[in-house]
Structure formats: structure tokens, C-alpha cells
Symmetry: C2
Subunit: 80 residues, 2 copies
């Protein structure tokens, strides 16, 4: 079963990498950019009996290792 | 207009960060993990007349700055 975990910074958390991208786009003369935020994805191929089991295992992985839940949100998307 | 750019490594490109995550999940006794690949997302809020203009500007940003097209794929998803 394939799943994609999307990890984004919570609203209000400073995002220096996003700011750097914004600055670089500006330096390259791209205009009309209001805001840039950066995040990460983790694609996991996992053996699970069903979608519920997979989501439950992936939630535990996010809580324990993959996301820093103090400053980050995560979303789990089972793809097949 | 809000857009999400998803950047992933092309198939066949080594992914040490993905391997590290796989190793860490294994060390935490999570089982049934077959493969882990890591990528990034960039959320951009951009002023554009329409979806076509936004996609065109974002494609240029990806080609010029955001993605390394030798080893990375990118996908643009206009969200509103």
C-alpha cells in the first residue's frame, strides 16, 4: 500500500527556507509572489491489511518520528 | 491564487534521506515498510489573472530555480 505523508509548518511558525525561496524568486524578477511556505513529503510503501491499519501505523510513525508536532502539521494520504 | 508545487526525486536517483527515515522507522520497530522516498513541497501564493497564467509562471519558476530537473520531477497543483 502506498501512502504520501505531507508535513507542513503550522501557521505562525517562521519559515526561513520559504523566505529564502521568496527572496530568490524576487531576485530572478518573478513578480506577484505574496507568500512562500516550504514543507516536505514522505512517500512510504507499507504492508498493511487495509486502509485503516495503514493509516493507524502511519499516524504512529508521524507522531513518534516523522513530524515535530509542536511546530508541524501532517496529513496522510493513502494512494492505493 | 494558491498553488502547491510537489518536487520528488526521479525514479532511480538515490535517496539517502529516504533510506535514513527507513532505517529510523526500522529501529523504532515499525514493520512492513518496503520503501521510503522523500520529497518537498512549496506552497506559493501568487497574483495571476487566471489558472493558465499561474501555471505558466510556476513552471518557469520550477525550471529556473525550484527544481533540479536533472534529478527531480515537479508537479504543479493550483488550489484556488
Amino acid at each position: 500500500m502506498k501512502a504520501r505523508i505531507t508535513i507542513t509548518l503550522k501557521a505562525g511558525v517562521l519559515d526561513p527556507q520559504g523566505k529564502a525561496i521568496e527572496g530568490a524568486l524576487d531576485a530572478l524578477d518573478f513578480s506577484g509572489i505574496n507568500k512562500v511556505r516550504q514543507g516536505k513529503i514522505i512517500d512510504i510503501d507499507i504492508d498493511a491489511a487495509g486502509e485503516t491499519e495503514a493509516t493507524s501505523a502511519l499516524t504512529e510513525m508521524c507522531e513518534k518520528l516523522l513530524a515535530n508536532t509542536v511546530i508541524e502539521n501532517y496529513a496522510i494520504d493513502i494512494r492505493d
